[in-house]
């Protein structure tokens, strides 16, 4: 009997190894993503479209499309390369894997270029610099002012996001992580969480939309610069694509289009959610 069980375990192990081997076999050729964009005439952008004003779905003439700040920037890049933009929406945590498997050639999802992520993928130069804020219920607006005052509180942050690191390092609260920002803010509204660490712009949008529900705490959440800069994630070994993307960002920064796009995205979100 023991012998039989051993064999079974061996078989299970073998299957697991095969699966792992299949996944680990990654190509190291240069410019594969760039060539794919050129040959298919399509730039596929991976995003997690539940993050207005950066990316969110809208219904236009009965059809769903994605829009927002990131989508506008991506559109400009695609236009400049002479290709079409295709937006692929998925869970935030799946995005890096998609990039590594060349299922998408670019990821824009309000993503900052952390050290951990740099190990897996490449990043463009920053196109947006964010800061972090703590969104709280209006009644708690003046409750959290210093790191010490957060002791015993429960704060939420998006799983795998930069805000998760910030929340863990800069507060003494218990940190709850979930996949979706919206689910965290719902818990905040319901009183299950005392605060949610968000990108300041996003936190401001919440306060603007629901001024009687939310407020931004005065607690400061300082973050090193490298972790505040939102970049476009690209596959590794893509010098051509990276060069193109960086050129485009420089251009949009210089002619002031980036700021305009952000305002446009905010307006669009306000229109569609009313």
């Amino acid at each position: 009997m023991k012998f039989k069980l051993g064999k079974k375990l061996l078989a299970v192990g073998a299957v697991a190894l095969m699966v792992a081997g299949g996944l680990a076999g990654c190509g190291t050729k240069q410019n594969t993503a760039y060539n794919k964009i050129k040959s298919s005439k399509t730039l596929t952008l991976g995003t997690s479209a539940d993050f207005a004003p950066f990316e969110f779905p809208i219904v236009k003439n009965g059809k769903k499309t994605y829009n927002g700040f990131d989508i506008m920037v991506a559109n400009q890049i695609a236009k400049d390369m002479g290709v079409k933009l295709k937006v692929q929406n998925m869970q935030f945590s799946s995005l890096i894997g998609e990039l590594q498997n060349n299922k998408v050639q670019m990821v824009m999802a309000g993503m900052t270029a952390t050290k951990q992520r740099r190990k897996a993928v490449d990043f463009s130069k920053p196109y947006y610099t964010e800061s972090e804020s703590l969104l709280v219920k209006k009644s708690d607006a003046n409750k959290y002012t210093t790191k010490a005052s957060t002791k015993g509180a429960s704060f939420g942050a998006q799983q795998g996001s930069i805000q998760e690191n910030v929340a863990k390092q800069q507060t003494k609260a218990n940190i709850v992580t979930e996949g979706l920002v919206t689910s965290l803010t719902t818990e905040l509204k319901g009183g299950k969480l005392n605060g949610v660490v968000l990108a300041t712009k996003v936190a401001e949008e919440y306060v603007k939309k629901y001024p009687n529900e939310y407020a931004i705490a005065s607690l400061k959440l300082p973050v090193p610069k490298s972790e505040r800069e939102i970049c476009i994630a690209l596959p590794k070994n893509e010098p051509k694509l990276k060069k193109k993307v960086n050129q485009e960002i420089t251009k949009l920064q210089k002619n002031g289009q980036l700021d305009k796009m952000f305002q446009k995205a905010q307006q669009l979100q306000e229109q569609t959610s009313n």
Partner: protein, 230 residues
């Protein structure tokens, strides 16, 4: 307090998401049914190897989360099988096919156990009777045991199908825009999560209830045959 005004603007998203949920569920159920049948035949086979493979398969699938299975099937297929990313109902086929396949592979393990319980429930005397009448083992299985077993397994099978429909929401991890994904997207735009989720819940409920009614009807129809023969 709850406002559903957004439906006026966003209903096409929910409609498309529901259609996609239905499509992947139907494909998943069919694949699951066939794999379940194959697995249970393997388990009843005289060849020990087949029996082992089926047993190990069921153990692995039952013992790992479906979300991880979906991701693994998707990444392995995307490396080995080039599926064109033709857009169907707002998602690429290169995502829908691996997704539906993963659901089917998952469901197959459970379905095979349901089949097995159905077959066990048929008294051995029936098989013996078939064999002693000179029928082959195969004929006995397919003509006598399986038709009755199938009828006995219908309630449990209905349960499994309903589970699969609900489980299909994990496909958002590989970017399939089924109805949950759409609800989350709308929630992210509104900065309000609960109303779109309620809409999605209602949609799932309607779909699963329709399926339950269908299975009820099928069950009655299949039992009628046996009542007459009594």
């Amino acid at each position: 307090m709850m406002e559903f005004d957004f439906l006026g603007k966003y209903w096409p998203m929910f409609l498309q998401g529901s259609e996609l949920t239905l499509v992947i569920s139907i494909i998943g159920v069919i694949i699951g049914f066939l794999i379940g049948l194959l697995l249970v035949l393997m388990r009843m086979s005289k060849l020990k190897v087949l029996n082992w493979i089926a047993t190990i398969y069921v153990s692995i699938v039952r013992g790992t989360p479906s979300m991880i299975q979906v991701l693994l099937v998707y990444y392995i297929l995307s490396k080995t099988l080039p599926i064109p990313d033709v857009q169907v109902l707002g998602s690429g086929l290169d995502r829908i096919i691996p997704g539906a396949l993963a659901l089917g592979l998952n469901s197959g393990a459970y379905t095979s156990e349901i089949f097995r319980s159905g077959i066990i429930s048929i008294p051995a005397g029936q098989t013996e009777a078939g064999l002693s009448l000179g029928m082959s083992r195969r004929d006995t299985l397919f003509e006598i045991v399986l038709p009755q077993a199938l009828r006995n397994t219908l309630p449990a099978m209905g349960n499994e199908f309903i589970t699969l429909i609900k489980e299909s929401s994990v496909l958002f991890y590989i970017g399939v825009q089924e109805v949950t994904a759409e609800a989350l997207g709308v929630g992210g735009t509104l900065y309000n999560f609960i109303p779109p989720l309620i809409v999605a819940a209602v949609i799932y409920f309607v779909i699963t209830q329709a399926l339950a009614l269908l299975l009820n009807w099928l069950e009655k129809r299949m039992s009628k045959k046996y009542v007459v023969s009594n």
